[in-house]
C-alpha cells in the first residue's frame, strides 16, 4: 500500500463528510467513517504541524558536502 499523502487524506476526508451529510450511511458505517475520519484529521494536522514549526533554511552545497562526507 502506498504511503498516505496530505492530498489523499484530505480528499478522503471530504468524501467521508459528504457521505455522512447525505444521511444514507447506516449506524455501523457512520461510526466506521467517523473513526476513519478522525484518523485522517490527525494525519492532516500532523502534516500541517510539519510545515508550521519554523522555517529551516539549508544550503544545497552544504547539504551535498555533508552527504559526501
Amino acid at each position: 500500500m502506498s504511503e498516505l499523502t496530505y492530498e489523499a487524506a484530505s480528499g478522503r476526508l471530504e468524501a467521508i463528510i459528504e457521505r455522512l451529510d447525505s444521511g444514507e450511511a447506516g449506524l455501523r458505517e457512520t461510526l466506521e467513517l467517523c473513526r476513519e475520519g478522525r484518523g485522517l484529521v490527525e494525519f492532516c494536522a500532523a502534516e500541517l504541524d510539519e510545515v508550521s514549526k519554523g522555517l529551516e533554511a539549508l544550503r544545497l552545497d552544504e547539504l551535498v558536502g555533508r552527504l559526501d562526507a
Binding site: 496530505y6 475520519g37 478522525r38 484529521v41 533554511a57 552545497d61 547539504l63
Partner: protein, 438 residues
C-alpha cells in the same frame, strides 16, 4: 612557411625539418592564418572586455568558441548604444583569423580580428529560441513536467536563484504569505552569464537527487532577453524536462517567456507567485478547514447515535401507547354498547307494553258478553263429570272389589277365581279372602 634557419642541432633521428626560431615560425603561422578566407561568424558574446586600444570578447555557441578582438576605434565607429555588446548578446562579426606572435616578454594569442560587427536583433534570438521550442515540443519535453503530481503541502522545497537578488526575498515572502514554514533548500547559482545554465542545471539535478525534495522553484528577476538567455539553454531545458520533481519557473517579468517556462511544470509571473504555487494550500486556512471537518465528523457521529437512541426510545414506548390506545377504544366501545343496549331494552319495553296493551284490549274485546255463558257450561261439564266419578259412588256406601292387579272384580266367579281381593271403601281399602258361599 619561413625558411628554416637552423642555429641549433636538431633531435637525433628525427626526420622532421628544423629546428626553426620560434618567432619566425610564429610569424609564418600568422601569415598563414591571415591567408584564411575572411568570413562572417555569429554567436553569443561572452567575457566582453574593453581596453583602451581594443575590445575583446569570445564568440560562443553550443559547439565551440573563438576569441575575438576589435580595434576600439572601429568598435566606437559602429555607434552602438552603451551596453549593446553585453554578456550573452547575439552578434554577427566580420573579419579573419590573426595571431599575435608574442615576444620575449609577451604571450602570443590567437584571435579573430573583427572589422565589422552587428548586434543580432531580438528577432534573431527569438527565431532561434522558437526553433528550439518547436523541437522540444516535438519531442514531448514540454509535457513531462506538467504531468507530474504536485503536492498540496510539500515539506521540503528547493529553490534555485542568485544568492544576492530580490528573487530570493520574493520567494520567502510568497512562502510566508502561505503560512508555510517547512524545510527550504537554497541552491544558489549565477543566473546570467555563460556559467549560468550549466550551474542551474547542476543545482536542479542535485536538488532532485535529494529524496525529500518535493518541488523546486527556479527564480530570477527581470532583464533583457539577452540577460535571460541562460534560461533558453537547450541542455538546461532538457534537464528540467527530465527531472522527477516538478519545477516552478519564474524567470523575468510576466511578459518574458523563456524556454524553461515551456518545459517547467508551471510558469509563474513572479517569484512570489512561484512560491505560492509551490504551496497551493494556505496553511492557516487548511488548519481552519480541518477544524471544521473535525467538528462535522464529531457532530455526525453524535447525531447518528442520538437520532437512533431517540428512535429506539420512541419504539420502546410504542407497545404501551398501543395498549393504552386499544384500552381507550375498548372503553369507548363498551360505553357505546351499554348505551345501545339501554336504548334497545327501552325500545323493547315500550314495544312490549304496547303489545300488552293491545292484547289486553283484544282479550277484553274477545271475552266480552259470552263469558258468563261459557262459565256456566263449564260448570255443567264439571258436574257431569263428577257424577261419573267412582269415588262419589263409594261415598254413598258402595264398595269396589279389585284383584291383586287392581282390576275391578265384577262377578262372584271372578272373585272366587281371584281368591285374595281388596275391597275399597270411600274412606280406605281392606284385604279380603274369598271363599265360596256355603
Amino acid at each position: 612557411m619561413a625558411v628554416p634557419a637552423p642555429s641549433t642541432t636538431g633531435i637525433p633521428g628525427s626526420a622532421l625539418p628544423g629546428p626553426y626560431a620560434v618567432g619566425e615560425y610564429a610569424a609564418a603561422l600568422r601569415a598563414r592564418l591571415r591567408g584564411f578566407a575572411r568570413v562572417q561568424l555569429t554567436g553569443e558574446a561572452c567575457d566582453v572586455k574593453v581596453t583602451r586600444a581594443r575590445v575583446y570578447f569570445e564568440l560562443r555557441d553550443e559547439r565551440g568558441a573563438i576569441p575575438c578582438a576589435m580595434w576600439r576605434e572601429d568598435f566606437e565607429r559602429l555607434g552602438l548604444p552603451p551596453g549593446a555588446l553585453a554578456q550573452g548578446a547575439q552578434v554577427v562579426v566580420a573579419g579573419g583569423c590573426d595571431l599575435y606572435p608574442g615576444s620575449a616578454s609577451g604571450s602570443p594569442h590567437f584571435h579573430f580580428a573583427v572589422t565589422g560587427l552587428r548586434i543580432a536583433g531580438e528577432g534573431d534570438l527569438l527565431a532561434r529560441i522558437e526553433r528550439l521550442r518547436r523541437r522540444l515540443v516535438a519531442e514531448g519535453l514540454c509535457e513531462r513536467q506538467q504531468a507530474l503530481p504536485r503536492p498540496l503541502l510539500p515539506r521540503t522545497i528547493g529553490v534555485v536563484c542568485a544568492e544576492r537578488g530580490k528573487a530570493r526575498d520574493d520567494v520567502l515572502a510568497g512562502l510566508q504569505r502561505r503560512g508555510w514554514a517547512g524545510r527550504l533548500v537554497w541552491a544558489f547559482a549565477p543566473v546570467q552569464d555563460r556559467h549560468a545554465a550549466p550551474a542551474i542545471g547542476r543545482a536542479l539535478g542535485d536538488l532532485a537527487a535529494l529524496p525529500e525534495t518535493e518541488v523546486v522553484i527556479v527564480a530570477r528577476g527581470g532583464g533583457s532577453l539577452a540577460d535571460l538567455l541562460a534560461f533558453c539553454d537547450e541542455t538546461l531545458c532538457r534537464t528540467v524536462a527530465m527531472l522527477r520533481v516538478p519545477v516552478l519557473a519564474s524567470v523575468g517579468h510576466h511578459t518574458d517567456r523563456t524556454l524553461i517556462d515551456d518545459v517547467a511544470a508551471v510558469s509563474c509571473s513572479t517569484p512570489t507567485h512561484a512560491a505560492e504555487a509551490a504551496v497551493p494550500l494556505h496553511v492557516g486556512a487548511a488548519r481552519d478547514a480541518l477544524a471544521r471537518a473535525s467538528g462535522r465528523l464529531a457532530r455526525a457521529g453524535r447525531r447518528a447515535v442520538t437520532d437512533r437512541a431517540r428512535s429506539l426510545a420512541r419504539l420502546s414506548r410504542a407497545p404501551g401507547a398501543h395498549v393504552a390506545r386499544q384500552r381507550r377504544e375498548l372503553h369507548g366501545r363498551t360505553r357505546e354498547l351499554q348505551a345501545s343496549a339501554r336504548r334497545r331494552v327501552e325500545s323493547e319495553r315500550r314495544a312490549s307494553a304496547r303489545a300488552a296493551r293491545a292484547l289486553a284490549r283484544g282479550a277484553a274485546a274477545a271475552a266480552g258478553p259470552q263469558r258468563t255463558a261459557r262459565e256456566q257450561r263449564l260448570d255443567g261439564f264439571a258436574a257431569a263429570l263428577a257424577a261419573h266419578d267412582p269415588q262419589r259412588t263409594l261415598a254413598r256406601g258402595y264398595a269396589l272389589v279389585e284383584d291383586a292387579d287392581g282390576v275391578a272384580v265384577t262377578g262372584a266367579g271372578a272373585a272366587l277365581a281371584a281368591g285374595d281381593v281388596r275391597i275399597r271403601f270411600a274412606d280406605g281399602a281392606v284385604g279380603a279372602k274369598v271363599r265360596e258361599d256355603t
